[in-house]
């Protein structure tokens, strides 16, 4: 506890702007956008008004606790009720509240700015990951927690961005008004990036709107803030702001990747290749519920090891993964994963943990199902 004596000093003096050791941060940061700075200023204004009121009220209390003790020979006064005083302590707080409400209203109106955006991103919450879709750009991907399970279970040292790191961050350009259209597929999540002062609930079946305009390139980290089930604490939000040129280059790369993935569907796959790919997909997408060894967490999350569906006909297995199981936590992965990844993960499940089905589902099988669905 005594490792940061200087931090204790700042903490006592409440010097939020000092760069104390990160571990002892005592206040909100001003953030990286005009909105986040006005929210920060508002926060500090209200805070100092509260401190001032507190100093007055507590001084009076402490004064009488010291000087008006019976042990000092104090005789009790008998006054009570005084109209003028009572009116004053009703009206004065009311005036202070009006003083607070003015900047609060101004900031709120600024946040609700309805002007046109230059880039739209659909943000979708899933149990327990985020999906980002660049509207009109044909680019979309999932953003999964990247912290290794060994760090969470204390078998490896935790790095600086423990639990606040993802495999693919949301990339946005600086100096651009980016609009977020926020929704969810299963339960309510909430998308929060403190440095942008953007927090909005992701509600299944409804679309919420929010926006940001980031000043300078950087990586901004946040988390889901609405309890969304078992792994609520393990679905970070990472936003990477790039210069406009870098963003354009990144977007072009992403589009090329999509084209490449389409080629993969047509490729002739061997069972071993699919199992190897499926191993990775399983551990990022399925293992949170069905567990790394396929044992599940019954009865909420059934075991896949020795399961009737996984060891039964492959058509039924594919259909279950593709469509999900309505009324349970099992999502429909048909629209979440690519044909290759679906084929790979199903093949993996059918050949892992002693489920020796020996067969395989190919990307073409998945494509056939998808096309049949579309008709």
């Amino acid at each position: 506890m005594t490792r940061h004596p200087s931090a204790w000093m700042s903490f006592l003096l409440w010097l939020p702007f000092e760069t104390v050791q990160a571990a002892w941060t005592v206040n909100m940061a001003p953030g990286a956008t005009a909105t986040s700075r006005s929210v920060f200023d508002l926060h500090m204004t209200i805070f100092w008004i509260c401190v001032a009121i507190g100093v007055v009220v507590f001084s009076v209390m402490i004064w009488s606790m010291i000087l008006h003790r019976r042990s000092t020979g104090q005789q009790p006064a008998h006054f009570h009720e005084h109209t003028l005083v009572e009116v004053a302590w009703t009206v004065v707080p009311l005036v202070i509240l009006v003083v607070m409400a003015i900047p609060a209203t101004r900031t709120l109106i600024q946040i609700y700015d309805p002007s046109e955006s230059e880039l739209d991103v659909q943000v979708t919450g899933y149990q327990w990951k985020w999906h980002y879709k660049y509207l009109g750009q044909d680019v979309e991907f999932f953003s999964n927690l990247a912290t290794p399970i060994e760090q969470i279970h204390n078998q490896a040292d935790k790095d600086d961005h423990y639990l606040l790191e993802v495999d693919q961050p949301l990339v946005v350009p600086v100096g651009t008004k980016v609009r977020f259209l926020i929704t969810a597929t299963d339960v309510i999540h909430s998308w929060w990036v403190p440095a942008l002062a953007v927090k909005k609930d992701a509600i299944p079946g409804f679309i919420n709107e929010s926006w940001t305009r980031i000043d300078k390139p950087g990586i901004y980290r946040g988390q889901c803030t609405e309890l969304c089930g078992k792994d609520h604490g393990f679905m970070p939000v990472v936003v990477e702001a790039k210069s406009k040129e870098d963003f354009a280059a990144w977007l072009a790369d992403k589009k090329a990747e999509v084209a490449k993935l389409k080629e993969l569907t047509d490729k002739e796959w061997t069972r071993e290749e699919l199992v190897a790919r499926g191993d990775k997909v399983y551990h990022t997408t399925c293992a949170a519920c069905h567990q790394p060894e396929g044992q599940g967490l019954p009865p909420m999350f059934p075991a896949l090891k020795g399961s009737k569906i996984v060891t039964g006909p492959k058509e039924k297995h594919l259909s279950t993964v593709f469509h999900g199981v309505p009324g349970t936590a099992m999502a429909a992965f048909g629209k979440q994963l690519s044909e290759v990844d679906l084929a790979a993960v199903i093949t993996y499940e059918r050949n892992a943990w002693g489920n020796n089905d020996g067969d395989m589902v190919t990307p073409k099988d998945v494509l056939a199902l998808k096309q049949a669905e579309e008709k």
């Binding site: 607070m100 309510i188 909005k200 019954p298």
Partner: protein
Amino acid sequence: MSAVIEPGHTEAAHDHAHGPARGLSRWLLTTNHKDIGTLYLWFSFCMFLLGGSMAMVIRAELFQPGLQIVEPAFFNQMTTMHGLVMVFGAVMPAFVGLANWMIPLMIGAPDMALPRMNNFSFWLLPAAFGLLVSTLFTAGGGPNFGWTFYAPLSTTYAPESVTYFIFAIHLMGISSIMGAINVVATVLNLRAPGMTLMKMPLFCWTWLITAFLLIAVMPVLAGVVTMMLMDIHFGTSFFNAAGGGDPVLFQHVFWFFGHPEVYIMILPAFGAVSSIIPTFSRKPLFGYTSMVYATASIAFLSFIVWAHHMFVVGVPLVGELFFMYATMLIAVPTGVKVFNWVSTMWQGSLTFETPMLFAVAFVILFTIGGFSGLMLAIAPADFQYHDTYFVVAHFHYVLVPGAIFGIFASAYYWLPKWTGHMYDETLGRLHFWLSFVGMNVAFFPMHFVGLAGMPRRIPDYNLQFADFNMVSSIGAFTFGATQLLFLFIVIKCIRGGRPAPAKPWDGAHGLEWTVPSPAPYHTFSTPPELPVEERQP
């Protein structure tokens, strides 16, 4: 000891009344307000220890980053059950227990107005909580969706035990409504001759208002859990967008109950503290009338501020502004209360026995919780605070020093009346100081981690939050362990100690101090004459 009890027996004999029945049937079948008050208070204390031990599990897991003690699935059950047990099992029954014991004694009534219903409303509670707690041992576990149980996490995605949870909530609701009706009937009908409403002790006033809040909102809670039940088992879609419903509807209905609920948990404490501070200041309460009006205003405002819990669900601008302004307004009547307590102390002749220590800490720490509440009311700032540890710090600052310290202050204040003995003052003060320090060490750092960006209800966190979380846990363990000392003090006080006179506090006023200590099994079988000072306008 026997010398103290003797007058009670004689008085009872004169009234042709009888003492308590013997054995278990005394407690199962009792219709005596004092027995039922005792049952409520002991039940509440058991729940306080149970909910507290769940908090200890939470703080032990959060002692260090990483998963050490429990899995996330169980962690969520602990946060959920901690909230439910503390709100519905510890705080609310404790206030009903105090109401049962004290309201008839304060207004000079022989008992509560509806004594049989009183028995039933208590005995529903062990059934409800037995059912609720047993779900922890079912396959799939107990409720894991937070004490606010937002749909669809609590409907489509809930463990099977959610049905038991719904039934338990129904039982608690029925119990609360019956308790509230009893308070209203007692206060309005059984006051001693000459005791007008504006002469009642403030505790009776705040409880009367609380009872109306309960009658208004517990049916709303019953409604929302019934809608959940329909969604889960009967195919309706109140909260399911795919069937034309709306998950946000759940939150509107829940918080229409939930915000008045937070005042249900604090108003009775306001009343008790408004008796305790004048007693130990030896000076009348500064503004009795304005206290009554302030309580009524808070109760009214509590009905029109519910959506401040929902600033980030996508409320339109005008909605945000309305709920922000309405919420800020609550600061006015709350300020009036705090100013009244402070002016009551001003130029008094103060002593700091244990009840006064808890009452003064109540005023100071509740005010700090009020300040963070005002900050949370500011909608644009709330976008940053919402669902972070700042909120956890805020509501623990209003509920622990508010509700819990209020209950401790009341318990020490009236223990001599209940048991006929003085409690051990040295141990009482030790209990206060350990609780005070433990509570602040536990909850103050939560403001910091919340502002720095730590969401609530997470079992694991980034390293930047590690140091303050460890401090919080140490404070929580201190606070938790200290409550065993309270148990010891109460048992010691029941078993013996310096005999308490009828009026153990020289500055106290009110009818409860005109009966002997311990209060005889039957009191005020004939309506009392008001003491001279109570008769003055």
